[in-house]
């Protein structure tokens, strides 16, 4: 059997599709897990404590490790690699192993496969170490050890023996015990009496070595790709330029092409979603005249579209989805279960209203714990909002301040200035202040600080309104004016 292993030493870093402006490091458990070349050049190394790394490179951008993102990337790569063989297995945390015996004839030997693999990985922006061997384990170990060789069966034992013993186990206690007796390579283990080793150390150690050497079978569960293509890419920093996005999307498009190649199919339409702050998204749908799986073609089309698109706001992550995969032409699979189901007429009403008035004109409301009236309620999606209610932060009220005062039914989106005559506010006539002042001074932390005295007032025509007088703040706005902020029903 012929195996090829791909190890991605920088995966935690490279799942973020773009380089950051500053040197970058990925942190895990307070230590650096991976870092880019610029950080390395200035002395940052994996294993270094994060504060120490920041002391070396004060501008270092540190991101917390994203294991889910790594898995997602690995799965994406597995889908892509299936263009070379149907037998692709994930080797967590950062490797793939391919059984290519059956593909050799098709591709004209192993070298062309290696070349194509390396080129594709570079295209997608991954640093990878690729190695081949007669057993899956030997190939993976070589790749992990950074020895990009193609191992022939005759050399198996001698080469594996040279590898560090850390390949065979990652159990700290075993490694420490081995280090204590001076064992550093797999060869050192093989030189010890076998029964003695079996008695002293974790049994899995010898088992792993035996599998690497082909002395024990090493069955693999191969990867089954999902029926549709969906891949997401977190950007390391907010992106505002379209060409940067294209650069990042390239990886996803190459993956899509590999995914399609593996299933001998093409796609007629794909959608790139751009995610902004606060769950807002922009969708860019690309339709092809004829089905294709040519990555370069995809990239050309996307470049044109992006060229014509103005980004309304910065993008934090992107996702690529392809649903109309050609041999399966016909109805696209629904993205989720029908969200309207179970919501009855309410959801349909919202749909209908939105169809008439536009999506933005119809929204639900939720209260949030805030002193500032503008922020004490916020819009939410009437359909999704229902499901998300439980995730809203709940904050215990401060002792006596839990009860909010009376709040008007209708709050004006923007307070409306009122005329003032003889210290009395006017709104179609002098207002009579009934209750107040309720003083609200809050919000200094986000730059929208308010300092107001609210009153409930009666207008000349007996309507109740909510007005406030601005209090002088240390800031530039002098304050003192009267405003109408709400109407009581």
């Amino acid at each position: 059997m012929q195996w090829i292993a791909i190890h991605l030493p920088q995966l935690p870093l490279e799942i973020f599709g773009l380089p950051t402006p500053e040197p970058c490091a990925i942190a895990h458990g307070g230590c650096v897990l991976a870092c880019d070349a610029r950080a390395t050049a200035r002395g940052v190394r994996p294993g270094l404590a994060v504060p120490a790394a920041c002391a070396l490179v004060p501008s270092l951008a540190v991101r917390e490790r994203d294991p889910a993102g790594e898995t997602e990337a690995l799965i994406g790569l597995a889908g892509w690699a299936m263009q070379f063989t149907p037998s692709v297995a994930l080797e967590f945390p950062a490797a793939l192993v391919l059984e290519v015996e059956g593909s050799l004839a098709l591709f004209g030997g192993i070298e062309p496969i290696l070349v194509a693999l390396r080129k594709g990985l570079v295209d997608m922006g991954f640093s990878a170490s690729v190695a081949g061997g007669p057993t899956a384990k030997s190939a993976v170990w070589l790749a992990r050890a950074g020895r990009e060789t193609l191992l022939v069966p005759d050399m198996l034992r001698a080469t594996v023996a040279e590898l560090p013993v850390q390949m065979a186990t990652d159990e700290i206690e075993t490694l420490e015990a081995l280090a204590a007796i001076g064992v550093t390579t797999i060869g050192d283990v093989l030189r010890l009496p076998r029964e003695g080793v079996a008695r002293r150390f974790d049994r899995r150690l010898l088992g792993e070595i035996d599998r690497a050497l082909g002395r024990l079978p090493d069955p693999h569960t191969f990867f089954t790709p999902p029926p549709r293509f969906h891949a997401r890419l977190e950007l390391p920093a907010e992106v505002t330029q379209a060409d940067m996005l294209l650069f990042a999307a390239r990886r996803l498009l190459v993956q899509l092409a590999g995914f399609l190649a593996a299933r001998a199919s093409g796609v007629q339409r794909f959608v790139l979603r751009l995610f902004h702050r606060e769950r807002r998204t922009t969708e860019i749908a690309i339709s092809l005249v004829a089905a294709s799986r040519d990555a370069e073609h995809f990239i050309r089309l996307l470049r044109e579209r992006l060229g014509a698109t103005t980004l309304s706001e910065p993008v934090r992550s992107i996702a690529l989805a392809a649903e109309a995969i050609v041999p399966l032409a016909g109805e696209p699979l629904p993205l989720f279960d029908d969200p309207a189901r179970g919501h009855g007429d309410w959801a349909r009403l919202v749909e209908r209203l939105r169809a008439r008035l536009g999506t933005a004109a119809v929204h639900g409301m939720t209260i949030s714990a805030e002193h500032r009236p503008e922020r004490a309620s916020r819009p939410l999606d009437p359909v999704l909002g229902k499901r998300r209610r439980s995730s809203a932060p709940s904050v215990a009220p401060a002792g006596s301040d839990g009860g909010a005062g009376p709040r008007p039914f209708w709050l004006l989106p923007n307070p409306q200035p009122l005329a003032e005559r003889g210290a009395v506010p006017y709104h179609g006539g002098p207002l009579m202040l009934l209750a107040g002042p309720e003083r609200i001074e809050s919000g200094w932390w986000d730059g929208s600080e308010i300092a107001r005295d609210y009153f409930i007032a009666r207008t000349a025509d007996q309507a109740l309104v909510w007005v406030f007088r601005e209090r002088p703040t240390p800031g530039p706005s002098a304050g003192g004016g009267w405003y109408l902020h709400g109407l009581f029903a």
Partner: protein
Amino acid sequence: MLPAYAELHCLSNFTFLRGASHPEELVARADALGYSALAITDECSLAGVVRAHLAAKDVGLRLLIGTEITLSDAAGTGPKLVLLAQDRAGYGNLSELITRGRRNARKGAYRLTCADLDTGLPGCLALLVPGNDSAGVSDLAHARWLDERFPGRAWVAAELLCGPDDRASLEQLHALAQAANLPLVAAGDVHMHVRSRRRLQDTLTAIRLGRPVHACGKALHPNAERHLRLRVRLAQRYPAALLAETLRIAERCAFSLDELRYEYPEELVPAGETPASHLRKLAETGLTWRFPHGAPAHVRTQVEHELALVADLGYEPYFLTVHDIVSFARARGILCQGRGSAANSAVCYALGITEVDPARMSMLFERFVSRERNEPPDIDVDFEHQRREEVIQYIYAKYGRHRAALTATVITYRTKSAVRDVGKALGLDLHQIDRLTSSLAWWDGQRALPGRLREAGFDPASAVIERLVELVATLTGFPRHLSQHTGGFVIARDRLSRLVPIENAAMPERSVIEWDKDDLDALGLLKVDVLALGMLSAIRRALDLAGRRRGVRLTVADVPAEDPGVYEMIQHADTIGVFQIESRAQMSMLPRLRPACFFDLVIEVAIVRPGPIQGGMVHPYLRRRAGLEPVSYPSEAVRAVLERTLGVPIFQEQVMSLAVVAAGFTPGEADRLRRAMAAWRRKGGLEPFERRLKDGMRAQGYTEGFADQIYRQILGFGEYGFPESHSASFALLVYVSAWLKRYEPAAFCAALLNSQPMGFYAPAQLVQDARRHGVAVRPVDVTASDWECTLESPGSRESPAVRLGLLMVKGLPQASAERIVRARAERAFDSVADLARRAGLDRRDLRGLAAADALAALSGHRRTAHWQIAGFETAPVLLRDAPIHETDPALPAPTEGESLVADYASLGLTLGRHPLALLRDRLRRKRLATAAEIRAMPHGRFARAAGIVTGRQRPDTASGVVFVTLEDETGHVNVVVWRSLGERQRRELLGSRLMAVHGVVEREGEVVHLVARQLVDESALLGRLLTRSRDFH
């Protein structure tokens, strides 16, 4: 006409993370606003009242003492009350209530229920702070309950804070008060002295809740009304009757903290004696013990003088208390010695509290006890650090936990902790905060903040950072929590909790009062400091070891005085391990000062201090001593004060005496000057003394120049000057430890190792030093080592060898080591298996021993040992029977480098070659010289050296200079890194474990420094070797 008002509900920042103003700020503001009185009512705490009391006394404001308490009920929260003390008895009840609440809960919290007030807290008034329950049901129930418990002493508080509808609230409150038949009174729920503290108050809330301020929602106060409001505003908000009611309450609270009087324990005086007669008797006995041939006349006079003053002030019980504690320690063989100004007392010497012979020192008893100061003396006693706990337990046992407790230390926000907490509150992510705090890790104050921010990649002009900087500036200095003082005990005659509330401490079985040392000082309460000193442990151990070897019992008294060999060693700065004079700064002073008698040591201890250094005393003294500069005095009176130190003031007492003889200060004034000296750097306030001093000196005919010089020296002293008495106490320990090092180097080394952690040097350096002095040091060995390091005779007449003890083995518990020693006493071990079985060792013990190479005698080298013990681990059953017979594989022996790494990892030192000896060829190729070569180089020579970094120091006096100590196989290189280089090469300076330095040799006599021009981090050469540096102590 503004209405009169007394604020009855006010939290200071001693209600941690709620109050946003210091007690002093609140008092000053209340006074400025013309309030008639102010109550400090911190939540279940009296921690801030002493500060408020002092501030109020200064401005003449009536201060009420009280507390805010929210009672917990089975159902959850009960009523919230403000309780105010009317008189001493009421204060005692309040203090006991707080104590009960605090001791019912974990540290930092409290728990009190309605049942705790069943007795109605006589002598206290109570205000109910109604909750926000709109139905008013529970408020009414609470009000009726309160009326029952506090008949005629209960009110409903009306706190109108610009809420949704204050008018309606007031009507409800009236209704509530009427229904319960209680009077209504105005109050402010004050959290800050001025409204501009609102941001900080919001931030404190966020820190308290552990979430960012934007996620705090309604937990924040809606506005800034909880401040000390203008009376004109109060008049607008409240009916006049409610404001007038505050005064009626204030009038009923007549209690002042000045009424607290310390009541000494009584049991130390035997029946039929008075405290005075008993103290005199003990002093007489002590004099006979100290001076078997009769005390010199001036000592007698001194004792009489002291006894008279002590009797006058009634301080006898205090001397008796300390005497009792010290006698206990003596009886147990625990070495102890008084430090600080107590060494100015001949009575303390006679009682065995201090060790400095009054016949040899000039004593300034007024520094210790002064009639004018009317403040109890402060006796600090050091005990062996590993046995201090016995002394503490003795105190608890003798006086009971209800009468003895530790004093508090108020932990305040420093820049670093403030940045951390404010950063979190502002929603910065953890990495950003870590980066901020680590870039502030050392040597920076508030001023450096913007620069550090920029360096860490933050824009100081951004809004978030601006807010952060502003909040950090205000928060810095805020109290954060109470911690226990290291050893300050307060002992009361009856229940201590009636004097001050007692809380639980972080350590179980400890309790802490809510006041710190300054609070106690201010109220004239007294405490005994039971301190720990590592050197006392080391000296006692060294004397024991040396005595056992010599077959006699050695005590400090047996150490011969003024031995020339000891001084010769000290003059060569051969002082690693010696008390005090082992630091880098001390060692570079020794060859210049060349101490030749005990008094020189006293000077040495006092002079290498930031005070004398900044005051510019060091160089004049050295020049005069070397005869390079004439010694002159402006008057005979000054000569009398300064003659012993060649006209240069070196001790704190001299500065005080100068103020007396040259500027006409009274001793009491001089003492106030001393206090001001100690505080001016933090608080300022020396200016009045400056005028008084200079005028006084001019009046007595001294020149302006002399007056200026003295004043500058006083400033320099600041808080860092040592009193002579203290220097003398320390100098005694210097001499004794130096004598041990000189004549019993093996015992001294073993004793230091057994007393770790202590001192300036790690075990590796202590062992290196001992071996350089010809002491044989033998490895840890299960067939020979005890738990502690021991002495073994070499079999010839040379000095004994040190056998490293099992305590050096990382991770080996003492109990396991003791089982090894016991099993070995029965019969020698014949194999590792035999050892494991008979000493009952588990796998961790065995692995620790193997890692330390302590099994070598039984198993051969480390690797074989590890192979063998790995074999037992998975077959524990077989251990008890015959082990499996297998032959050990021929494991290759570890290389010298590998052994070295393993030695350091387990023992922290190696008996093999120094790590740099192994690297020497590579260092030679880099043209790096050894420490020995550097020492031999002439002044001004360009040189390169490298060594393991064993210490980094940045003295406060040296404006940014960092001193780095490098160690190699031949000794130490002292590197000076100037500020500019340090900033340029921060990474190399802070990050190197093995550092190479290119620089210029600077030599002054025996003192050699290498002044760095460039630093190179060579740590990679060390590989996995663990080294330890002592940084910035």
